[in-house]
């Protein structure tokens, strides 16, 4: 990959809505996509009408439509977050073993997941804080992390206390090893490849400043072949 980092310095960081829109922009038309629970679910609101993106939900459906309201609510038709949704024309239902064959078997083009931490090698930690009183729950995160053709992660780059969430080694238990392809954050878009992590884009911060704030080796894409 060659070219320069795109720095958007005339603005601040992306807000949550803008971040979801930024992720949506990189989802190819016509792809099969799974959006994780929580913030990734909001990416659906930013997909272009007519993009032909087909949404998969782990609890057994392709062709999932928007959230159900009013009379549309049917408790037998829910998404992975257990919220009522709708079905689009051409939808299909299937059981859990088939649903996870879709996820694990490399049939999904893109999945979008949230994260506690991502390492410079693309390791993902998003299921457990490891705290002694925490009740662990993993759901389908580990299957998605290793199964989708492209794994996108969205999170803020820094925790509320300023600690970076892109780290040299994850301190939280891992969800998957070296599985992240793209990291979308409020201040930077970062790609992971065989040679490591590289900043593609920044928002409201210079790439050189970002390098100072992170304890992670970042490839300079402008110098790459």
């Amino acid at each position: 990959m060659s070219g320069a980092v795109i720095e958007h310095l005339d603005r601040g960081p992306l807000d949550r809505d803008e971040l979801a829109a930024r992720v949506a922009r990189d989802i190819p038309a016509g792809s099969y996509v799974n959006l994780g629970i929580g913030q990734p679910t909001t990416v659906a609101d930013h997909l272009r009408p007519g993009s032909g993106v087909v949404l998969h939900t782990e609890n057994g459906m392709l062709g999932m439509g928007p959230a159900a309201t009013g009379d549309q609510i049917d408790l037998d038709l829910i998404n992975a977050g257990k919220a009522p949704v709708t079905e689009l024309p051409g939808a299909s239902y299937f059981h859990h073993a088939d649903s996870f064959a879709i996820m694990r078997g490399g049939h999904l083009d893109v999945c979008v997941l949230g994260a506690f931490q991502v390492s410079g090698r693309g390791d993902l930690a998003n299921w457990h804080t490891g705290a002694p009183d925490a009740i662990p729950a993993v759901g389908g995160a580990m299957d998605l992390a290793i199964g989708a053709k492209s794994v996108f992660v969205m999170m803020t780059l820094f925790a509320k206390d300023g600690t970076p969430k892109l780290v040299r080694e994850c301190t939280y238990p891992l969800t998957g090893v070296g599985c992240v392809d793209r990291l979308y954050t409020d201040v930077a878009v970062i790609a992971f490849g065989p040679r490591g992590a590289s900043v593609l884009e920044t928002y409201g911060i210079a790439a050189s400043r970002l390098v100072e704030l992170l304890d992670v080796p970042l490839i300079d894409i402008s110098a790459a072949d």
Partner: protein, 225 residues
């Protein structure tokens, strides 16, 4: 042959103390609530429950847990906004948890039903949930050896059954039902409706009657269709 039971109490008769019970449902969609209520009345205890979640609110599976009848839960996502019954028992050390990635939960039951001795799966490789498990590198990728989960009993909710035990489900309430039906020594199904043989199109049957031991009609209660 499939037995048609007059009541849910008849349907759950004979479930023994210490049994492993596969319980269908993803959240409340597909949850066999009438059979769980019958199991609470029936009295079997020291159970191992295999279910995606560990109960919602105070009814159904949560009520079975609250009654102190479950020794161990095998599930992928116990922690939910309304999982206070499980959370309390877990924090008090009164219930054992085996946390299983959701796809492994489905596939391990599929393996049990399909006569597979064990299988290598990439999900969870290099994580806490693979610790102590045998691993193997196949074509350069690490896989984890996963063993089948057999049930003594499966409790499943379907939409319609015929008297042969053939089942169809409804929307995302299908989820684990078809897989669990194959994986238990005795599969007990609650349905909204029972029809005569020939009334279901054989092309649309999801679970063939050979996997179904007992059927009980619980009517359209909670069925929005």
């Amino acid at each position: 042959m499939t037995e048609i039971c007059a009541t849910t109490d008849e349907a759950v008769a004979g479930i023994e103390d210490g049994a492993t019970v596969l319980v269908g449902g993803f959240g409340l969609a597909g949850m066999p609530s009438a059979l769980i209520d019958a199991l609470i009345r029936q009295g079997a205890t020291n159970l191992t429950v295999v279910c995606n979640n560990a109960g919602n609110g105070d009814t159904g599976l949560a009520a079975l847990l609250a009654a102190g009848r479950v020794r161990k839960v095998v599930c992928s996502f116990p922690r939910q906004s309304d999982s206070w019954v499980f959370d309390r028992l877990y924090r008090e050390g009164r219930i054992e948890l085996e946390l299983v990635p959701q796809g492994n939960l489905a596939e391990r039951m599929r393996a049990a039903g399909a006569g597979i001795g064990a299988f290598y799966c990439p999900t969870g490789a290099g994580t806490l949930l693979a610790e102590g498990k045998e691993t193997r590198v196949i074509d350069g990728r690490e896989y984890v050896l996963e063993h089948p989960i057999h049930g003594d009993v499966a409790l499943v909710k379907a939409h319609v059954a015929d008297r042969m035990g053939n089942l169809v489900y409804r929307k995302t309430a299908r989820n684990f039902g078809p897989v669990m039906a194959t994986a238990a020594t005795s599969t007990i199904v609650e349905v909204h409706r029972l029809v005569e043989p020939g009334a279901l199109d054989p092309e649309v049957v999801v679970t063939p009657g050979i996997f179904v031991d007992r059927v009980v009609v619980t009517g359209d209660q909670g069925d929005p269709a």
